[in-house]
Symmetry: C2
Subunit: 149 residues, 2 copies
DNA sequence: GTAATTGCAAATCATTTGCTTCGTA
DNA sequence: TACGAAGCAAATGATTTGCAATTAC
């Protein structure tokens, strides 16, 4: 893990601590895993990862993810999948994704989110508060398109 | 059900028939229900509806929804919920939604989707084909905000 | 020491599947 | 009549929960 990442990890753990959470092995492992991943991960994948598997009960992973989401550390995404996906919530902005409907691969989109600017307007029109949004693209990735024509 | 709705229902059934599906009671009930609803419905809700409950096995509803999605008649949405939501797929455009994170109410947004125009660009950049997308807003609805402050 | 956290097992919830029977084309 | 569709029950997969045993602070 990069120095930069370590830095962020300890910052995240500090935020958890401030929020009243305890510093446990599982907490650090889950956060490290999500920091190192370039796309959202499911609870199942996290629980099966080398860092957690065998050291931590799956139920603990689910509870941890839930708590981290409530504390605003993580963002939960649907991604049209039955299993929820989690990713670190960055304060400044959020990410949008493109998902392959054949192989399920997930890529983060490198673009300014085109919807960010609309939120205030939507909030005003709808009367909703604490607005947030999720934008995902679905399609067939080049590799899958090549494999099947 | 309005005349307009009946019209659309028979059109939809025709499209199903053309696609090789048979005209069954369950098919019509599911389509009618979705046509009359102003927001996406889950398989569970559909199976429990007066028109279907007791007349049709839940497994049939699941299979039917799956088939209808494959035939392009329905669109499946995640809506950050554990259960999948289904809505009629309109040819011309699609809808975006705003969901209350407290009470779960779902409203269709009355606006031109701001992302539609980006799809071609995203396709080009990413190399993905058959692009499609899902945009959802989440927040606290006026009623829930009022109830709790 | 105390409250937060974990492990383990059992319970739920949403969905899928196997297989036989039924009904539409 | 034949093949798609439905019914029923059992299997999956994801997640949640109860409760006693731990552990961080």
């Amino acid at each position: 893990m990069s120095e930069d990442c370590k830095q962020t990890l300890s910052e995240l753990v500090d935020r958890c601590r401030t929020g009243g959470m305890r510093r446990t092995q599982a907490l650090e492992s889950v956060l490290r895993l999500l920091l190192e991943s370039d796309h959202p991960l499911t609870a199942g994948v996290i629980a099966e990862s080398p860092g957690l598997k065998g050291h931590c009960d799956p139920a603990t992973v689910y509870r941890l993810l839930l708590r981290l989401e409530e504390h605003g550390i993580l963002r939960r995404l649907g991604l049209r999948d039955r299993a929820a996906h989690y990713t670190i919530r960055h304060s400044h902005t959020h990410d949008d994704y493109i998902v392959c409907t054949r192989c399920g691969s997930i890529e983060e989109l490198e673009m300014d989110c085109p919807v960010e600017a609309l939120e205030a307007e939507i909030a005003k029109k709808s009367g909703f508060t604490q607005l947030d949004h999720e934008l995902e693209f679905f399609g067939v990735c080049p590799s899958c398109a090549g494999a099947e024509g």
